[in-house]
Amino acid sequence: MNRVLRVDDLHVSFDTYAGEVKAVRGVTFEVAQGEVLAIVGESGCGKSVTAQTIMKLNPMPPARIVKGEIELGDKDIVKATEKEMMSIRGKDVSMIFQDPMTCLNPTMTVGKQLTEAITHHQKLSNEDAHKEALRLLNLVKIPNPEQRSKQYPHEFSGGMRQRVMIAMALSCAPKLLIADEPTTALDVTIQAQIMDLLQEIKEKTNTAIILITHDLGVVASMADRVAVMYAGKIVEIGTAEDIFYRSSHPYTRALLRSLPTTEMDRSVRLVSIAGTPPDLLNPPVGCGFASRCDNCMKICQTELPPQFEVGQDHLSACWLQHEDCPSAKDGGEK
């Protein structure tokens, strides 16, 4: 496995007037070349903070890396200075965001913004950079790139803007692309176009992708591996098949069952997870999901569950998987 990114026991906190918000509380994962890792979870679970920390995009302070390691290729991100980050961002790792309107500069033409990104990292003449920009617009399938590059972002539709964002993110052939909810703001037919494009680019360039989303449908269609986050921790990580067909953590299972499928009609009641996620100002001492979990035991409220191996490369942070737990082995069925 050709490893691109290694995150080890990452803790990120925000110092606010109300106290320390422990947004990410010990996250460990790896991403290999050409792989799509999806990070799923509800809002506030720490998935976006994790991604932003990899690029050090969150303002520090208030954000603070409490401990942990982030290794991108051979570079240590945690120790990197802002100046070093300037050359890492865009070149080694780049990101596309949820809202393509607020991420493009409304006062610059699309072509100008693209060439700016290119000349920042590569020594190219203006003419060559412009050619490169057109090649990228072609790659993301924007019709009439020559003409389109002279237009401003407001002249593009939502889907087209997201394509421009992808072109910009790819401009220096990064090893890792972080897509933070890339299709959430788009309509389903446009979402299908963008996902198709991402898939194609991944196959063409062999870029690793971290896909951050809350839509399990998007995950199923793209991801090779899936990490499920809850209350600042990864509760389960495994291949897409592991997560969708052999999920072992009660949160993952409840999440999957709370989605209506097209075969269901209203005679089947949706499973709902009662309650709301815990407040990360005062995270619970035990398992974060304990208060909403149907299988909660005494130990869940007092001690953090470690990651138990439930299959090859399939980890689940739940005390039900402990060998002393009587129901450990029948946990797999739905």
Binding site: E42, S43, S157, G158, G159, M160, D187, V188, T189, I190, Q191, A192, Q193, M195, D196, H214, D215, L216, G217, V218, V219, A220, S221, A223, A240, E241, F244, A254, L255, L256, S258, L259, P260, T261, T262, M264, D265, R266, S267, R269, L270, V271, S272, I273, A274, T276
Partner: protein, 327 residues
């Protein structure tokens, strides 16, 4: 849970009748046809799903149905507790029978009002009950939607998104309406909270015999909650059928593309699925060309599609507007 009673789609069970309803807006570039000559009925006790992409006019249609926008052409007849035509002069009477639940539970609640006064306001306006009885009703309603009576003295910012949506639902129910327009009530919520709200809406419908117009863009959820589904494109209804019929026998090319674009949370099914990807974007609803509104993106479009606008008619057991669907 009990199976739902079969739909009664007879004429005397109609609740809302839309007759050639259009809503046009005058903008600087011309006329924006947000809703264009729409004809359909909503029956008592059903949930009618209304789906389409952003900008297709589904929310405008919801607002026209609420009497918030008067229609530019056509009329809407309402056969509830009172028989009325929905228009400006009848708006007060109508608002006692129909209510709306909004998409954004953050901006649709007044931050300076307590939850109790938010829920009570409608009853005051419609002069329902005396002060003491109203207070009791507020408590009753809060408990009905799964909140506590202690919540009545708090302010909206103290609640999470799902709880706020419950407050919005309690407010809509406060004046005992028969018809509720749900304008994307769950799209701002997290997955695990969405199912709570859907179950709540479903229970309330059974308990109170409500009729819903459920506007959404998440097709899996619409399929689950609706009895019938209307698919909208560029201000026009292109297909209308019962939800099983629409999913199993999709006729309109746009509905087909829309359904195939929805990702299914199941990797094997996703891998097998043949996705029909539409090229291009939804065209602007300003100064639309004549002919079929979908012709520009349709893989089956021919000359007739560009010349003549198809009408919504009964073909193969459900309503569809397409030249290329056989009768």
């Amino acid at each position: 849970m009990s199976k739902k009673t079969p739909l009664n789609l007879t004429d005397n069970n109609k609740l809302v009748e839309l007759q050639q309803v259009s809503k046009h807006f005058r903008v600087s570039e011309g006329i924006l046809k947000a809703v264009n000559n729409v004809n359909f009925d909503i029956y008592k006790g059903e949930t009618l799903g209304l789906v389409g992409e952003s900008g297709c006019g589904k929310s405008t249609l919801g607002k026209v149905l609420m009497g918030i926008y008067p229609p530019t052409h056509g009329k809407i007849l309402y056969h509830g507790k009172k028989d009325i035509e929905i228009k400006r002069s009848t708006h007060f009477d109508y608002s006692k029978m129909a209510q709306i639940i909004f998409q954004d539970p953050y901006s649709s609640l007044d931050p300076r009002m307590t939850v109790g006064s938010i829920v009570e306001e409608g009853m005051i306006i419609h002069k329902m009950y005396d002060k003491k009885k109203r207070q009791e009703r507020v408590y009753e309603l809060l408990e009905l939607v799964g909140l506590n009576r202690e919540h009545a003295n708090r302010f909206p910012h103290e609640f999470s998104g799902g709880q706020r949506q419950r407050i919005g639902i309690a407010r809509a129910l406060s004046i005992e309406p028969e018809f509720i327009v749900c304008d994307e009530p769950i799209s701002a919520l997290d997955v695990s909270i969405q199912s709570q709200i859907i179950n709540l809406l479903h229970d309330l419908q059974e308990k109170l015999g409500l009729t819903y117009l459920f506007i959404a863009h998440d097709l899996n959820i619409v399929k689950y909650i609706s009895d019938r589904i209307a698919v909208m494109y560029l201000g026009n209804i292109v297909e209308l059928a019962t939800s099983d019929e629409l999913y199993n026998n999709t006729l309109h090319p746009y509905s087909q593309a829309l359904l195939s674009a929805v990702p299914i949370p199941d990797p094997d099914k996703e891998a097998q699925k043949k996705r029909q990807i539409l090229t291009g974007d939804v065209p602007s609803p300003i100064n639309t060309p004549k002919g079929c509104p979908f012709a520009g993106r349709c893989p089956r479009a021919t000359d007739i599609c560009r010349q003549e606008k198809p009408v919504l008619e009964m073909k193969q057991g459900h309503l569809v507007s397409c030249h290329h669907v056989e009768k």
